[in-house]
Amino acid sequence: MNTMKWLLRREFWEHKGGFVWAPLIAAAIMVVLVAGVVGYGVSTDKFGGDSVTIRVEGKEVHRTQMATLATGHSRAQMAEVAANNYIAAGAPIFIVLPVVAFFYCLAALYDDRRDRSILFWKSLPVSDTATVFSKLLTALVLAPAITIGIASAAAFLILLLAGIAASAQGVNLFAPVLSNINLYLSPVYLLAMIPVYVLWALPTAGWLLLVSSWARSKVFLWAVGVPLIVAVLLKWMDYMLALYGATIHADWIINNVVEVLLNGLIPGTWFIDGGTTLPINGGQGVNMLSLLGASWGSLARPDLWAGVAGGVAMIAAAIRLRRWRDEG
């Protein structure tokens, strides 16, 4: 257990840039942009006064204040939506995660073979299983947890800025939003999705680690090129076979195997690719709790477990290669 702690720390030393600084910079840019817009709006009074204008064919027919529109019930509803969905403001930061994790997994078992420092790591009493496991844990658990932390903090800051903008229009939502329990539970719900993410990401992580511990060079080309070439070949075979009225179901294979190998690190793939539907209910936006429920519900899908089995097999192969590959 102690060894694992140090192995994870080791990964953190080497990859702080990708896992901490990249999302932090993305978050900072977003918050600064929103703050700039709000600051400009408030200072030039763009948000204040008669902000809602209704025109018909260019002629002004009605002009009123936001504050008079947003009354009792609709305020409560706005607060509810804000507290439930503010975390979505952090979504752009989650785009950073799969990119960083993808290249991390590709490099994880390759970089130290390239610079031969693998011989130093292998001179220490650490099993290859523990080493590979530490890389997997970093990519699939630590990195998402850090991203969730940073994204939640950024989303919260943006919510506060939005609150300032709303109060400039005379709609003060601070009290109902800040007292809404979902505001504080949303990051926890996201963290509770990590186990689901791990399972869905396992085939991609396994594939990348396998290439990383196998390829002698050009890991990216191998990792992306092989699935793409296979996809093209399948399509071509299907096209040829179609002349004889036969098929090898190329589209099915591409959707279920090739895409799973390459896209698994994207958070929420289980919603993208059918099977699990995004629970959206009209007035309240997306309820985080039902999102969490639907995510865990995806564990009932057999395609998930087929992917997990494939991922585990590829990880086992990566460990074996790491153990026996002659590094000259």
């Binding site: 080791r10 030393w13 130093f120 220490l124 009493p125 099993s127």
Partner: protein, 285 residues
């Protein structure tokens, strides 16, 4: 005392080419063994097999363990420097010490820090800022602080200047080696290690051609400066090597008694380098 390493019929093939060709040897504890051979003779392959880095055929026991199946346990007691300058570039001196201290049960942090204090390394320094010599100093500091029973050094000083090389072996001998430890060294700079070795192993084309203690080597091999008039008499004793220095023949004999040879001229012990050259004659021919 049981052997630290014992090999029986150890072989390793790369394709059809045998890198090690059925060798047998034993290395007892408390020795400093020089494993010496030309490029491509199988030195590194032998060491890699012993360290469990590659699969092999035959029987090989390192401290009673099979390096193929018991590598994780073996690495508690074995340490190695496989090559110079292979520490990762992003590693800081302080982090390196923390890491090894965290995972190695036999690591003595104060020893490593004491050694580092005698160098120009600073805790915040990264490997990429270091010269090759400094990287080896850091690596040696880490390795010497590990109380391992077997230390394997494969060309540990390659590419270093003479100051670093001398210091390296001096530290090894003075601060590290004791009767409970065994060190195996491969190097091409034979003359720099010969005075610290207790045993010698010559390897050629995947076969061991000489395995003896330095004492035995001193008894077996004699070099004689033979004046011109005694060359024929000397040749009759079948020298294994012969060269000419300042008009005199210098002949190397294997297993001829010293008394008999001193009649022919001035005798002395050959250097390991001369012995090596004589033994490996024709390797690249």
């Amino acid at each position: 005392m049981s052997a630290v390493i014992s090999a029986k019929n150890l072989s390793k093939k790369y394709g059809k080419q045998a890198a090690i060709d059925g060798i047998d040897f034993e290395i007892p504890a408390g020795r400093i063994v020089g494993l010496i051979g030309p490029n491509g003779s199988g030195k590194t392959t032998t060491l890699k097999a012993a360290l469990g880095l590659i699969p092999f055929e035959g029987e090989l026991r390192v401290m009673g363990l099979d390096p193929r199946t018991q590598r994780d346990a073996l690495m508690q007691d074995v340490c190695f420097i496989a090559d110079v300058a292979i520490l990762p570039r992003w590693l800081k001196v302080r982090d390196a010490i923390d890491f090894v201290a965290g995972i190695h049960p036999r690591f003595d942090r104060t020893r490593a820090e004491r050694y580092i204090a005698n160098t120009r390394l600073k805790p915040e320094m990264k490997v990429k800022q270091m010269s090759k010599g400094m990287i080896v100093q850091l690596h040696l500091a880490l390795v010497m602080a590990i109380d391992a029973k077997l230390l394997v050094l494969d060309e540990p000083t390659l590419g270093l200047d003479i100051l670093y090389r001398k210091q390296f072996y001096q530290n090894l001998l003075e601060d590290y080696f004791d009767e409970n430890k065994t060190i195996i060294i491969t190097t091409h700079q034979v003359e720099e290690v010969e005075h610290i070795l207790t045993d010698l192993m010559f390897i050629r084309d995947g076969k061991i051609v000489l395995a003896a203690s330095m004492d035995e080597v001193g008894e077996r091999y004699v070099e004689v400066m033979v004046p011109a008039d005694k060359v024929n008499a000397a040749n009759a004793l079948q020298p294994i090597d012969q060269r000419t220095v300042f008009g005199k023949s210098v002949m190397l004999f294997d297993g001829v008694s010293r008394a008999q040879l001193s009649a022919l001229g001035e005798t002395r012990n050959p250097s390991v380098a001369d012995l090596f050259v004589a033994t490996m004659k024709g390797t690249y021919a």
